[in-house]
């Protein structure tokens, strides 16, 4: 039935809505807000994909998921098939379906979106990912072990994606994480109501089933250096995916008062350390009656909504540009607004006012208007003279961006660029042989899926560096993770020992015997 010719007139005109918990109820707890599709809703929404020949969505996806392919399977109610297509390219559908900025990626270029609302690709992806977790589906390919040891620094999305690809190629993969739990930004940054911890746990378990080992409580750089990993610990290749979590300060008077904290601190205390369950958990996070969050990215939205759930009566979001320029996902701004966050667009803080005892009493702001476009193409906000005003608040949270973490630069010879991020070439190789890097630590703050894309790209380069034949390379040049491959392993070759193209011919027998 799916092969029947569909046109924009014959498909369901309206996007299938996703059920959500009532804003009044959910603003008081940490349960997930969006409930996800059920089978019926998913099949209906899958009808809305035209299966157009151009497939702009595939090109719009940073990892190139065969989107029409998996949607077609949903339409056929073949959910296992849909999962297989998805996991060919995307390791973490349940996560990406929730946190990707689809409106700027696949859905933003969807053909249906030209005349109607775009097909809800993200929601469909999440539906398949959730079904897989519920059913316990895992795609574990035949893995032929080789003699290579690969070390991954950082267990966030970039590290996880790279680890999966290297494990599938037969390497012995160890992922190092400084925190006591793996997941990186997925764990400490994104709150439960957007991405439940159980989903992260499930996705990490999948990696463990591929043979990936996670070593927490390990601060690479300080416990051992990148160079030591190669020279002493026996790693043949290393991937650095440590993210860019060093928060940018506001640099205005009063920014070191008590009650001024970074969104990172707020979110880490709440998500990773469970401050929301204080005193059952020991980490405190007194939130105050009124909270002002500065910034309008996804992190800022998370901070506003976490503050509400921690019991703040009033939560303000302060942003110097207008709503159109806000970098957050549209859905996040919408959810925050529904839950009662008060938005102050075109407003910029100039000072934080103290109560005389070292605490925050309020904030001084100026109003802005939009001027000429700046380098980023967005209209530059300009101060309106004489528009200064004060308002009262007990806590100020700043979410205005992050910088590169300095630890790698302090402890290794890996070259950094002028902004302090790790310098990498197009193949994501760094200045040190065998060491690759990707994700935010190379590009600066970006998205989960972009980091995963970088992790996978680095994995391709690492395989090449190690001399592991990448199934895609000889036969399917130019095609990355097409429908016929499973994380770089050609499905047609599942049962064959992998052949490694390696100038060191003495190494070949050991692999073929294995």
């Amino acid at each position: 039935m799916a092969t029947k010719k569909k046109t924009i007139r014959t498909i369901p005109q309206d996007r299938t809505p996703m059920r959500e918990v009532d804003p009044q109820v959910r603003a008081k707890n940490f349960e997930e807000v969006a409930c996800g599709y059920n089978l019926e809703e998913a099949v209906r929404e899958s009808e809305r994909c035209l299966l157009c020949p151009d497939q702009p969505c595939v090109a719009g996806c940073p990892v190139g998921i065969d989107i029409p392919g998996f949607i077609k399977k949903i339409n056929e109610k073949n959910l296992r098939g849909a999962f297989d297509v998805l996991t060919d390219t995307n390791l973490l559908p349940a996560i990406c379906g929730r946190v990707c900025p689809q409106e700027n990626q696949c859905e933003g270029v969807c053909t249906v979106g030209e005349s109607l609302e775009a097909t809800a690709i993200g929601r469909l992806e999440r539906f398949v990912g959730d079904t897989a977790i519920k059913e316990g589906w895992v795609n574990i390919p035949h893995i032929e072990p080789n003699r290579f040891k690969v070390g991954i620094v950082g267990s966030g999305p970039a590290g996880m994606a790279c680890a999966a690809d290297m494990a599938k190629a037969g390497c012995d993969v160890t992922v190092y994480e400084a925190f006591h739990l793996p997941g990186g930004v997925l764990r400490y940054g994104i709150p439960d109501f957007r991405l439940p911890n159980s989903v992260i746990d499930a996705e990490i378990r999948k990696l463990e089933q591929l043979g990936v080992k996670f070593e927490c409580n390990t601060l690479v750089g300080r416990l051992f250096t990148i160079e030591q990993m190669i020279d002493e610990l026996g790693f043949h290749a290393v991937f650095i995916g440590v993210g860019a979590g060093y928060p940018t300060g506001m640099n205005i008077p009063g920014d070191s008062l008590n009650g001024v904290l970074s969104a990172n601190e707020l979110l880490t205390r709440c998500n990773l350390m469970n401050a929301k369950a204080f005193p059952k958990f020991d980490t405190p996070l007194p939130i105050g009656r009124r909270v002002a969050v500065v910034g309008a990215g996804n992190t800022a939205m998370d901070a506003t909504r976490v503050s509400l759930r921690l019991g703040a009566e009033k939560v303000y979001c302060i942003y110097r540009r207008s709503r159109t320029e806000a970098p957050a996902r549209v859905e996040e701004v919408h959810h925050a607004e529904q839950e009662g966050v008060e938005f102050h667009w075109l407003t910029n803080p100039v000072a934080i006012i103290d109560d005389g005892r070292g605490n925050v009493r309020g904030m001084r702001c100026v109003s802005m208007e939009l001027g000429e476009p700046d380098d980023s193409g967005r209209r530059r906000p300009v101060v309106i003279p004489g528009s200064e005003f004060d308002f009262e608040t007990d806590v100020v949270v700043y979410a205005i961006g992050t910088n590169a973490n300095p630890i790698m630069g302090q402890t290794s010879k890996v070259k950094l660029n002028k902004w302090g991020y790790i310098g990498a070439d197009d193949s994501l190789a760094t200045s040190v042989a065998g060491v690759f890097a990707g994700g935010d630590i190379v590009t600066g703050a970006a998205t989960v899926i972009e980091a995963m894309g970088a992790g996978r790209k680095a994995a391709i380069s690492m395989k090449k560096y190690l001399g592991i034949r990448d199934a895609e390379q000889p036969y399917l040049s130019g095609l990355q993770g097409g429908a016929d491959t499973l994380f770089g392993i050609d499905l047609r070759e599942r049962n064959f020992a992998r052949v490694r193209i390696n100038p060191d011919s003495s190494a070949i027998p050991s692999t073929t015997q294995a």
Partner: protein
Amino acid sequence: MANFEIIRREDFSPVTYLLEVRHPLMAKAARAGQFVIVMQSEQGERIPLTIADYDRKNGTITLVIQAVGKTTMQMQQECQVGTSLYGLVGPMGIPSPISHAKKVMCVGGGLGVAPIFPQARAFKEAGAYVIAVLGFRNKELIFWEDKFRACCDQLILCTNDGSAGMKGLITDGIRMALEGHKNIEEAIAIGPPVMMKACAEATRPHKIKTMVSVNPIMVDGTGMCGGCRVKVGDQVKFACVDGPDFDGHLLDFDDLMSRLQRYTKVEKMAAERWSDSCRMTKQVGPSALDALLPGQVEQKDLLELPDPFEEVQGG
């Protein structure tokens, strides 16, 4: 899950204790001035503790802790030999630069005496003449006198009540050292911020470079939360990745002390709740012994101290 086993424990006083934890990799990597973050249990908080010593041969690191808050009190009760810590990560921070100064003064106040030890030893190994100035409240709280005697050329011991060494504040000891030695090239001070501030003020007129080791409130210890930011000169620095050692003549101590008060209220609440729950499980019915329980003493202690973290860390 990694296993961070406690292989030795020593109680210096009713509130001060030492834990030696097995971690061969860290013992190999640790250098003077670095710190670790400890999580005692899955529900616990992450607390920064300065590494007081490390034994590369036996693969252990040593922490000296004062029970002042909920977590350190609970650790005092539960961290026995043979048990393990849930989380232990480090060594964190930039190691203290051990210069080739010929004469160095190492100042340690209270629990700060523990983390100053590896620095004193490192300077001695680098060939310096090392003067240690150690301050304690009273004789009962003194620890590691022998360790310092073994690696220092001169030891000035002060107690607030005169029960051991010279009577007076640590600044009196510093003054004595400065009078006795005109050619001190460098000073290092670790202790509560008030003490470090006083030490920096004492050396300022003599233009002696003075490094202090700060321990503000931290969550991750990897440069991610920004909770440990301090003002140094006109710059904002993160103690966890840019420190923990800073120039004492440039550091804004008032800002540091004010920021350490951030969670005082909830910390006190948690500590009280914890002592109460201990009392309930230990005692059957109300008892006149209540007044003698450690909980009472520690609560009093809490009120006296500027900040639990600070004392826990010793600097």
